[in-house]
Symmetry: C2
Subunit: 475 residues, 2 copies
Amino acid sequence: GAQLNPTTTDLPTPSLDHRTLAQKHDLFITSPYSPGSPLLLPNGTYIFEKLQAFLRAQYPIFGFREVITPTIYKKSLWEKSGHWENYAEDMFSVQGRGATGQTEDAQVGQDEEFGLKPMNCPGHCLLFGDATKTYRDLPVRYADFSALHRNEISGALSGLTRVRRFHQDDAHIFCRPDQILEEIEQTLKFVGMVYDTFGLGPYKLLLSTRPDQHFIGTPEEWDQAEEQLKSALNNSGRQWDINPGDGAFYGPKIDIILKDANGKEHQTATIQLDFQLPQRFDLQYQASPEELEANTPQRQGETLDSANRRPVIIHRAIYGSLERFMALLIEHYAGTYPFWLSPRPSIILSVNQDPAVLARVSYLQSFLSGMDHLEPRHSDPENTAPSSSAVPPKLRPRSLFGVHLPIDVDTSARPLGKKLAEARTKKYNHIIVIGPRDVDDEEGRISVELVNQPNIDAVKEVLRKVLGKDIEALE
Amino acid sequence: GAQLNPTTTDLPTPSLDHRTLAQKHDLFITSPYSPGSPLLLPNGTYIFEKLQAFLRAQYPIFGFREVITPTIYKKSLWEKSGHWENYAEDMFSVQGRGATGQTEDAQVGQDEEFGLKPMNCPGHCLLFGDATKTYRDLPVRYADFSALHRNEISGALSGLTRVRRFHQDDAHIFCRPDQILEEIEQTLKFVGMVYDTFGLGPYKLLLSTRPDQHFIGTPEEWDQAEEQLKSALNNSGRQWDINPGDGAFYGPKIDIILKDANGKEHQTATIQLDFQLPQRFDLQYQASPEELEANTPQRQGETLDSANRRPVIIHRAIYGSLERFMALLIEHYAGTYPFWLSPRPSIILSVNQDPAVLARVSYLQSFLSGMDHLEPRHSDPENTAPSSSAVPPKLRPRSLFGVHLPIDVDTSARPLGKKLAEARTKKYNHIIVIGPRDVDDEEGRISVELVNQPNIDAVKEVLRKVLGKDIEALE
Ligand SMILES: [Zn+2]
Ligand SMILES: [Zn+2]
């Protein structure tokens, strides 16, 4: 329990369903107009984008580069990839409403229906295959946060966990067979880094190996690949297990099984090797001198030029579905998020509506949110009189790397007790109370309530510097 | 000409089509498997994401908060919004491949087809309408970078400009009628800030007003709204023009018409008022005391509670389509991007393959890319021997706010002249050449070639500090 959740002292209990917590924090809604496609409100989007930004910040370490790929592809692509057949019931089909009947002089596939993508792999194969690659260009690592659609039956849909539309932190590594070990090692490191950051764990690594009967490629290829997976698992220093014969027919895989605060197991990250897609898309690279020398025998049915080899594809996701990972974190943190992830990091409450108090609140809000260097925005509802006709001063854009925090204020005329209670219910990380004492008395102390902030002294120090005053922490 | 493009001395010429330049810089490809849905390669995605990040950094100034909304909605939603009828030929229809026939005990609309969204507005109306709003909650401003689909005929498709799939920097402002002026003023400021940043312009602002015949609402409502638009245009200090009677039947609008380097006009940003959608979605807010006192007459067919009012919706986009804006910038910069937007900011060339030279190149790359504090990645193709079985040290994650630059290297065995020529063709902003002199001789100077960098001295200073040496700039 407590160990799993070091950032809060509130222990999550089974009653704290992510849907209940999400409602309390205005994270998302659902609509009968698009069952299984949650609509993320600003607070939910804030968390989603922080998760995305965190992963993006790590991509340069691991050599991933992002790509942007289509949402719909013609049926022929899904036939080539095998999804049209193997994924039949799970896919949505798409048709132009204007495109009825057969076009004269049509291009190949012009009148074809499209499929809404359930996976990014075929698109990434198109990108890889577009330009000639040599052994020196590999590994090529494409990452993609695209929205994906899978046609789950409507009865099964629920919150962020059983959905029809979701986003993966999806990536495909196109590598030489001799690069599998290092790529798996790095991916396991990446998984460790991410799960440690969120205080998630322990987790179990599970290797699924070559099925007995039906599989693609030669037993030697599988053996070599599985040896590399085992070495990587050994080198990870983590506990792992084997599920013999449980791999897909197109390659072995490693699943990451996470135990949550309630002891429930979740399959989140996956690392899946694939010998099949490179073949279906006829992907190849110019072999290295060593590979040419080794002169490895071609697979059955392969018609590669003798100077070329097929890459292996590694499908991998660290979070898995971002929506499902969010649901997991919502329950994990029980609504009290770490400061950097929190859509409600701070709120400033005014004790009354004295103009001097309101001015202080407004200054503190703009300072703490990182907006203090900018021209103030006239968001006061009273202040909508036509502006002067003089040319307004040019607005300076904010830097791409500037930190912005969504600092809320409550300057309503309600009693402070009410405002405090509401702010507590909403689980703001910091609650800052500004009263007349702080305004009138140069020696006065600022009343501050801090929630879920392990380092209260550091926060007091920041506030003391901003306000030039001492802090009195409420309990 | 030159004035339009202050960041480069290369004048764009009509021969520099964005598709030609994009190929040279590996920005995107197209595929017959998804005509009109460009596939963005890592370099193109880099530019796309910088454009997105730049706008996101400005959203807090203007009070926009992002939301994430579905890609498909049931036909009934598009009927409610009017798109199913008015946008018929332009929409794609979507069906679950497993969902054939009619379900027994089906929910309303359960067996219905879906429409692939051509616009975000209906989704944002669902979000706005979900919780009760009062006059104090307005304006509510939702921003959304979702992929959108419109079924253009295949003959018209081309590059990034005529597409079926694109992303808008879309936003909807839900405001009170008396808030129109300030919202339009702020939006015009936002447009100015963005276009100034890219050195785009001059541009023309064009107001389209109430059509003579067919329009929604009362002439008084239109007059009040148009007065506010005119005041905002006057206060902007920019040149503007009027197109009388050219507004849509549901509201007046302001178009931004940009003149490019070749004198060609582009309609990029739009600001469109909408009196209709709030009615179709029955959106309302609890009126202010002033509004209740004014007791404005209800529109024909309105059945609002007397204590409530309808908000106005402002549809606005600053870039317009990100894809089209990218195409415009590609031609505007003629392939030589400002440093912050450039997918090829710097390359380091080695004069030879001396291990000391290679080590220096590698150090400089990791330093300049912002990765020097991290454990080095073993990307050397020779270095794939199994690691030791000791538990590896934990990797520190990079900060969300850390700057990362994609610094390339060319350490191939080719002659320096060849490498330089290739780097110049690829239009790297900085070309840095590392030779034995820089390694062996403590007094040696680093050879540096700098392209498109107005402040060469500042760059030399940075490099001098990193390398602890003087810089010799190649010409
Ligand atoms: Zn995949
Ligand atoms: Zn709209």
